[in-house]
Amino acid sequence: MEETLTCKNTKLLSEVERRSGTKVSRCFQCHKCSTGCPVAPDMDYMSSQVMRLIILGQEEELLKSKAIWLCASCEACTTRCPMDIDITGVMDVLRMMAIERKVAEPDARSKEFNKAFLTSVRWHGRVFEAGMMAIYKLRSKDFFTDMDKVPKMLSKRKLALWPHFSRVAGEIRKVFKRAEEEEKKR
């Protein structure tokens, strides 16, 4: 008996297409994105598979995946896609959805890095790397990686010990608050 796979659940596809402003449904699985992806060997789903899972409505599978946290945003996929799909933009949306729905992969350390980076910018208006690293270490509980680099970086003056505050740090805090409110309205 012949069986046709039909996609009944298009909720995920429409949300991703609306929020990323790109037509995921155009994907015809040429795999050009996955072939050029530098982190494909480390991913549980390669970018072309991510596109397919969106079309098939596999929300849980995707939002809990490691792949969305391994994308380095290098834009090779977006640049090369013959169907003009902004794959990097789709990855951004999936990460935001995973955080909003509180289902993100618990070991995703890049999520903690993003959070630590933005906390630093919110406080100082600029990134204060030593402070950001302290926040990252606490959040990720990854205490030992790279600690051997600290003396080397200090001796080369590559790690500032005191934050440079932007003159507009107060304004930046307001920008964060307003951007968060605007984002909810989308």
Binding site: P38, A76, D92, M96, V121, E129, D146, A169, I172, R178
Partner: protein, 286 residues
Amino acid sequence: MKYAFFPGCSLESTAWDLDKSARAVCKALEIELIDIPGWSCCGSTPAHVSNASLATALPAMNLQKAADMGMPITTVCASCYGRLRVANQKINDSDEERERVGRIIGKPYDGKVEVHHLLDVIVNKLGSEAVADKVERKLSGMKVACYYGCLLSRPPEAVAFDNPEHPSVMEKLVAMTGAEAIEWPYKTECCGASLSISNSDVVGRLSHRLLSMVRRAGAECVVVACPLCQVNLDLRQADATAAHGKLPETPILYFTQLLGLALGLPEEELGLEALMVSAAPLLSMV
């Protein structure tokens, strides 16, 4: 030539040598850089993966200040460059985005300030003849691999000032210095970028892949135009070779350091002592 200069956060810490050498080179080439007063972070990758409104508003804070200064912006960080250009594109393409940004930053901004990477300014705006007049020391015999990474040419609609898959602007700059730019196939491959801290194992694998190709192609050093490319190839080089196989030590220079040497600027003005993999053995051969 006068530009509003957007240094970016890295230039205050891990890339202070890029800051120093960029300012020294611009002074020698009579490109006037005026720091954007009260500049703030562009948001880089963490902003665009977390909040689309923030990812456009943070660069717009700085773009709007440059609009008040009435000057085009130049920057030396590939990520800052990309984020400023992408924000401009989004603001230009959509009234809704422009209005949203205006509400967030509390001031109107029309998306019209020009943004150029300093590499583009030196090679395409100033031009090779103007630079050639000032070259005092030909770096003859030095074999260089030009590494562009991702954000200098991608996404091309917003940022590319060159062929996105096969750029040649840095090779033109290297030719001005008298060094030889070798051809190699990975010049726009990614080093792992902002995964540097959270997934250093991935970055180690990618950096090793790049460095071994640099060596196979016959280059003895790499020239970069991005603080993150530099850190991933230089600071992480020892870990990468320990994990994935021995390679000769490869110095990773900023394009401003290489050009500064050719312009005859003293090494201390170029921050060469900040490199983890020393360039001294290489420079003693030139």
